[in-house]
């Protein structure tokens, strides 16, 4: 072995390291590292190649956006024209055509209120008043009858306002009710405890559809002859009662997760039951159960579409109704994709917000 003379420029003679970055290397180490993965990658690529270009051609290149149904039938692509041609019925249902600005304004108000309430800095008493005032104005806008607005009976409400109303009111009313039920179920008073258990288990023991049927078909028969309760209110009540039972169980999980020490500490401070729950236990418990609660709220939002079975025209039903029109029959993929997008936007916003809330509360 010949001892190489060491010089000061040794680093110059070292070979450059093999570059392990770049697209090719990434592919090699992630998608083609081994026979199995390579085969899977190739299969997936073939699958995507078969699916995506035809879909893009159908949905975008060959598609028609503002045509008549007959032109659509002549073409090969997607017929998005079904949406603009029927958009007002899809969104507003039976609401009188020339009064559509009213539900539009009400929906914008509702959405801006929700956006405003997103920020936790705005959570104070005045927000409560803003909501009450907002809901009152929205109710007046939808229903009319005063200030020179034409009265519109609630059985003419439909489409997106109905979906939003059923879900927003369903969630807001079910949440406190669910908390009360959860507290009741953990109560030491036997009567309250039994009642709450009975309620929760009875409601959770039947599907929402059967509750809706009961509210629509059975309930009117119990009322004295001539007295009828509005169909929407009956459905709304069924949704609230149903969602509350599920929220109760989720909240109970949160209550059980709080250690005994917290309860005892609160008691040793001399707090009474209400103070103990409001100041110490519930804030911690509700924070823990944000993810499952949002899960329930999202599924409650989607469950509002079940009101079709009692012939309420929510946005899914108005869309299906359009598809029953002979001239637009057969363009169901386009219409369903549109409704799916609306549902997705709402649900994604909810889950996104819940993650933000979790982050903020944990810090």
């Amino acid at each position: 072995m010949v001892q190489l003379p060491r010089d000061n420029n040794q680093t110059d003679r070292l070979r450059a390291p093999v570059i392990r970055i770049g697209a090719w290397q990434w592919l090699k180490s992630n998608l083609f590292n081994g026979v199995f993965n390579s085969v899977v990658t190739i299969l997936v690529c073939i699958f995507l190649y078969k699916i995506i270009p035809p879909f893009v051609r159908w949905a975008f290149i060959d598609s028609l956006w503002l045509s008549t149904a007959d032109q659509c039938r002549a073409g090969d692509g997607a017929c998005w024209s079904i949406i603009p041609a029927n958009i007002r019925f899809i969104i507003f249902g039976f609401y009188p055509y020339e009064l559509h600005w009213r539900p539009t304004v009400a929906m914008i108000m509702l959405i801006s209120l929700l956006f405003y309430s997103k920020n936790r800095n705005h959570w104070n008493t005045s927000l409560g008043y803003i909501w009450i005032a907002g809901l009152l104005i929205m109710g007046i806008l939808m229903r009319g009858g005063i200030w020179g607005l034409t009265a519109v009976e609630s059985d003419q409400w439909g489409g997106l306002p109905l979906t939003l109303m059923l879900s927003v009111f369903g969630m807001f009313a079910a949440y406190p009710l669910g908390i009360l039920l959860a507290l009741g179920r953990r109560s030491k008073m036997p009567a309250i405890k039994t009642l709450c258990i009975l309620y929760i288990e009875l409601i959770r023991g039947v599907p929402l559809i059967s509750l809706l049927f009961m509210s629509a078909v059975l309930f009117p028969l119990f009322l004295p002859a001539g007295l009828t309760v509005n169909k929407i209110i009956r459905a709304q009540a069924a949704i609230i009662l149903f969602t509350a039972a599920y929220i109760a169980e989720v909240v109970r999980g949160g209550l059980q997760a709080i250690s005994r020490g917290q309860y005892e500490a609160a008691e040793s401070l001399g707090l009474n039951y209400v103070q103990k729950m409001r100041l110490v236990v519930l804030p911690q418990a509700l924070k823990i159960v944000i993810p499952p609660t949002v899960g329930i709220l999202i599924s409650a939002f989607k469950d509002t579409s079940l009101v079709v079975i009692i012939a309420l025209y929510d946005i899914l039903k108005t869309t299906r109704s359009v598809l029953g029109n002979p001239s637009w029959m057969g363009f169901s993929p386009e219409a369903y994709i549109f409704v799916a997008l609306i549902y997705f936007v709402c649900c994604y916003a909810m889950s996104n917000y819940s993650r933000r809330l979790e982050r903020e509360l944990h810090s």
């Binding site: 029927n86 059975l218 009117p220 119990f222 009828t228 002979p326 001239s327």
Partner: protein, 337 residues
């Protein structure tokens, strides 16, 4: 179980206690509008258009009732009802009249506590087949796969028909009319069965309508009629004669366009009908102009038929059984005197 039994007993007690003898028309007049149940999904019979305005033969029948009672065809509110809800809604008093393509049957007329008025559409179940199958009639359908809506009399009728004729069938049940049609056009079944009024509409939206034919066989009777609660005879008479007035007007040659000229007609039948010679209105407890208002605002039966399901609509239905008796159909009105 005890709870369920209790609920059942309460239901029965309440049901038996429901009696509205002779008060519907007063209720309706006090409310200021007729509350009607409609289909909501059936094009040509009861369905909102793209502006959310109700259109259809059943809906126009309802408007005729409103015109008769109030002299204003717009004083009616429709609520969409499902097949399950429709009779409960009537029994519970939620609606005053059901204009929702309900087939009149003995059971519904008696046990369910309903009364059916004059039939406003005679329907029947038929078959739609691809032309390339070269079928002459439904007897040749042995072994066919049949597309049919579940839970309807349609499904039962077709099963009966195949059994009686000792043929085999493979049913393909799909919940929704539009999807059913799609499955048929995609070749998932050999034959599609539904009410004849629907088959024409389904054929019209086929990718190539000429590739399909409707077989001549009609395998069931489906007399569709508006329904009211049993036991309220005055209200039933009003509903009944509102439908009959449209039929009688067609027979007398009175249309929404010439009705004002017809007021001067010398024909005593026309004079009685339009209330120029009074009597009919008083007999029914209505304004003497009631029939005039129906024809002026809604039209006679022929006009209503052509407007909703006739040749210029996507359904393109022939009059067939629904022609006047003079033209070989079943539409026949007793004399208006």
């Amino acid at each position: 179980m005890k709870l369920m039994k209790l609920l059942l007993i309460i239901t029965i007690v309440l049901l038996s206690g429901v009696g509205f003898a002779g008060q519907t028309v007063d209720n309706v007049k006090a409310k200021g509008f007729v509350q009607a149940g409609a289909n909501g999904d059936l094009f040509g019979f009861g369905k909102p258009d793209e502006k959310g305005i109700w259109r259809g033969l059943d809906v126009d029948t309802g408007r005729a009732i409103a015109a008769a009672v109030f002299g204003d065809a717009s004083k009616i509110k429709f609520i969409p009802l499902t097949a399950v809800q429709r009779f409960t809604a009537l029994q519970s008093g939620e609606i005053d009249v059901l204009c929702r393509n309900a087939t009149q049957t003995l059971g519904r007329d008696s046990e369910l506590g309903l009364d059916f008025a004059q039939v406003n559409y005679y329907d029947g179940q038929g078959f739609l087949v691809p032309k390339k199958m070269k079928l002459k009639n439904a007897k040749q359908l042995d072994g066919a796969t049949v597309c049919v809506l579940p839970g309807t009399t349609t499904e039962l009728n077709v099963a009966d028909y195949f059994r009686v004729n000792k043929m085999k069938m493979k049913p393909v049940v799909i919940e929704n009319n539009a999807e059913l049609a799609k499955a048929f056009f995609a070749g998932r079944c050999d034959v599609l069965t539904s009410d004849a009024s629907q088959l024409a509409g389904i054929r019209a939206v086929a990718p190539k309508p000429d590739d399909y034919v409707i077989l001549p066989d009609i395998i069931s009777k489906e007399p569709l009629a508006p329904a009211v609660r049993h036991g309220d005879n005055q209200w039933k008479d009003i509903v009944n004669y509102s439908v009959l007035a449209m039929i009688e007007a067609e027979e007398l040659g009175i249309t929404s366009k010439n009705v004002d000229e017809m007021l001067k007609s010398a024909n005593p039948a026309v004079q009685r009908f339009l209330g120029v010679a009074p009597g009919n209105g008083k007999a029914l407890g209505l304004n003497e102009k009631w029939a005039y208002n129906i024809i002026k605002q809604v039209g006679n039966y022929g006009e209503v038929f052509e407007r909703n399901v006739g040749k210029n609509t996507p359904l393109k239905l022939e009059r067939g059984l629904n022609a006047l008796w003079k033209n070989g159909g079943l539409m026949y009105s007793p004399p208006f005197r």
